[in-house]
């Protein structure tokens, strides 16, 4: 495609693109900036954009007033835990479906996808009652279990689309050379599958970190991850903007950075391979 692009055209689109980008990003930027203000500066009119006395006070305050580290730990345990268990269940399944497909493989995949379509309120009542009776309400274990099952279809699907891309000829070549199934898996397939597994893991940690139906309904003080902790700012603490901002910034920063790294996989993961 050898089309000369005029500098003027490029400049116009630069200005337009940056304006739109900054506009969309603004609420996040604003939260970040506000987290370094005092409560007084935060609600000042006219708003202070950059030239105020930057302070780390709010970050101290959030840690001091609440058990912030506990909620961070909960978020990490729940999102990483559910993703790892999900991977342990999904890798063999996706592997089998990609490398020894049968007539029913497609139906199994579609069925898995269909479980994802079930609205959570459809099973809220029984799940709540089961959790209550089994003592799983407000426990990390319970949330890990639920999030594992919620994301399992996505994990299987993503892995399946990645495994599918590993050329079958390589397997045949290995078999011709007399490699056993075990050797084939360990030495040939695994190295080729690692990137796909890594991006699946990344995207699912993000999804689990931000999940806000089950975490809000099934957790209280003990197992509450950051989603539920931030929800406690809805009133009246929401009026303390600087503290809300500091808590929010800490809750979203790590996952935003991970998200930026996984942007390519996002499309594949969330469209179940329908758009690549």
């Amino acid at each position: 495609m050898a089309r000369a692009i005029s500098t003027r055209r490029k400049l116009t689109f630069s200005i337009l693109g940056w304006a739109i980008g900054l506009l969309i990003f603004f609420p996040i930027l604003w939260t970040f900036l506000t987290s370094f203000k005092t409560e007084g500066t935060a609600i000042a009119t006219p708003p202070q954009f950059l030239f105020f006395d930057w302070t780390l006070e709010n970050y101290h305050e959030v840690q001091a007033r609440s058990n912030y580290m506990k909620h961070v730990t909960n978020s990490i345990v729940i999102s990483v835990g559910s993703t790892l268990i999900g991977l342990a269940l999904a890798i063999p399944a996706a592997w089998a479906m990609a490398f020894s497909p049968t007539k029913r493989t497609k139906d199994v995949l579609m069925w898995m996808l269909s479980t994802k379509m079930m609205p959570p309120v459809g099973v809220l009542v029984p799940l709540y009652l089961i959790f209550r009776d089994w003592g799983l309400l407000d426990t990390r274990l319970g949330l890990v279990a639920v999030l594992t099952m919620i994301n399992l279809p996505i994990i299987v699907w993503m892995l399946y689309t990645y495994f599918k891309e590993i050329p079958g000829e390589i397997l045949e070549a290995a078999r011709m050379d007399g490699a056993s199934l075990m050797k084939e898996i360990v030495y040939v397939l695994t190295p080729m599958a690692v990137p796909g597994i890594a991006s699946t893991m990344l995207l699912n940690i993000i999804l689990a970190w931000n999940e806000a139906f089950w975490t809000l309904n099934l957790s209280a003080a003990n197992a509450a991850p950051l989603t539920a902790f931030i929800a406690s700012y809805s009133s009246p603490e929401g009026l303390f903007w600087a503290k809300l901002s500091a808590a929010s910034t800490m809750a979203i920063a790590p996952i935003l950075i991970m998200g930026w790294f996984s942007q390519k996989q996002l499309v594949r993961g969330l469209t179940f391979g329908a758009v690549k």
Partner: protein, 290 residues
């Protein structure tokens, strides 16, 4: 190629995931179905009895059901309208070569990674606050009366927040589709004298139609279940102006402890979602065959 033995191995490898997912789906669903035919309130233990379709009758004839259904459709429709049109325009801009393209792309997709409770609270408190919010300040600096967002247009405010969260998703998918468009085709059309508008409507839009359908269907599935944004901003109010089906059932189950009624509502929600799911599954299934 697949021998008897490898097929057996494959079945064993698949079974844990399949069995667990099957139990996860079928057990609660059967329980919901069973509860939906009972009079069952957690506040009155021991009074459970079979009441047939009474819960469904109450749920479906309750005026708040129709309000909630209307709110759900408005929320889904409004958000789709903003995100699909916005997403197409954004994708067209981001597809052009310009300085710092990669960075702008990162800025645009960022809202998707913000947890729903954070984005809802930041928008509600810091941007839409009628006195100190940034929007109020902007309105006043231009000499307008600031809008009291959550009092005057509560549902629209929630639509704005949800649309902000989902715009990156639509943009990213539409951009991916756009980038797979054959540049030579466009050039040929250009040489034949096709203007920018007709190039868009006859070449670009048809090329993106599949991706647009995917965006609409997937977003609909998720948007039918919007919950956290409502819980932390309005609690479904004022009145029930921002109560959607999901929130209505949540309130019935965990605020009024009406297990029977909430279960009937849950089944209704499952049926509604399944109508959308049917089309999505067909679309993705077709793609799998190619």
């Amino acid at each position: 190629m697949a021998t008897h033995q490898t097929r057996a191995t494959a079945r064993i490898m698949m079974s844990p995931a399949v069995i667990l997912l099957f139990l996860w789906m079928i057990v609660p669903l059967v329980m919901t179905l069973y509860f939906s035919f009972l009079r069952y309130n957690l506040l009155m233990p021991g009074t459970e009895e079979f009441v047939g379709f009474l819960n469904y009758k109450y749920f479906l004839t309750d005026p708040s059901f129709f309000t909630a259904l209307g709110n759900t459709l408005t929320l889904v429709g409004g958000t789709l309208l903003i995100t699909v049109i916005g997403g197409i325009l954004l994708a067209l801009v981001l597809d052009q070569p310009f300085f710092g393209q990669g960075i702008v792309r990162l800025l645009v997709i960022a809202p998707f990674f913000v947890m729903p409770t954070v984005s809802a609270l930041v928008w509600k408190n810091m941007l839409m606050h009628p006195v100190n919010g940034l929007f109020a300040w902007i309105a006043r600096s231009f000499g307008f009366q600031p809008i009291d967002w959550f009092a005057e247009v509560p549902l629209f405010s929630i639509i704005l927040i949800v649309a902000w969260q989902w715009l990156p998703f639509a943009t990213l998918i539409l951009l991916t589709a756009l980038q797979s468009l054959d540049g030579e085709q466009i050039e040929a059309a250009e040489m034949d004298g096709a203007g920018a508008l007709s190039r868009f409507f006859y070449l670009v839009l048809p090329h993106m139609s599949r991706a647009i359908t995917v965006v609409i269907l997937i977003q609909t599935i998720f948007l039918l279940s919007v919950f956290a944004e409502i819980l932390v901003t309005t609690n479904g109010g004022p009145g029930i102006q921002t109560t959607n089906i999901t929130y209505l059932i949540y309130a019935q189950a965990l605020l009024q402890f009406d297990v029977g009624g909430a279960s009937a509502g849950g089944i209704v929600a499952v049926i509604l979602a399944n109508i959308v799911a049917f089309f999505l599954i067909r679309l993705i299934g077709k793609n799998l065959e190619r």
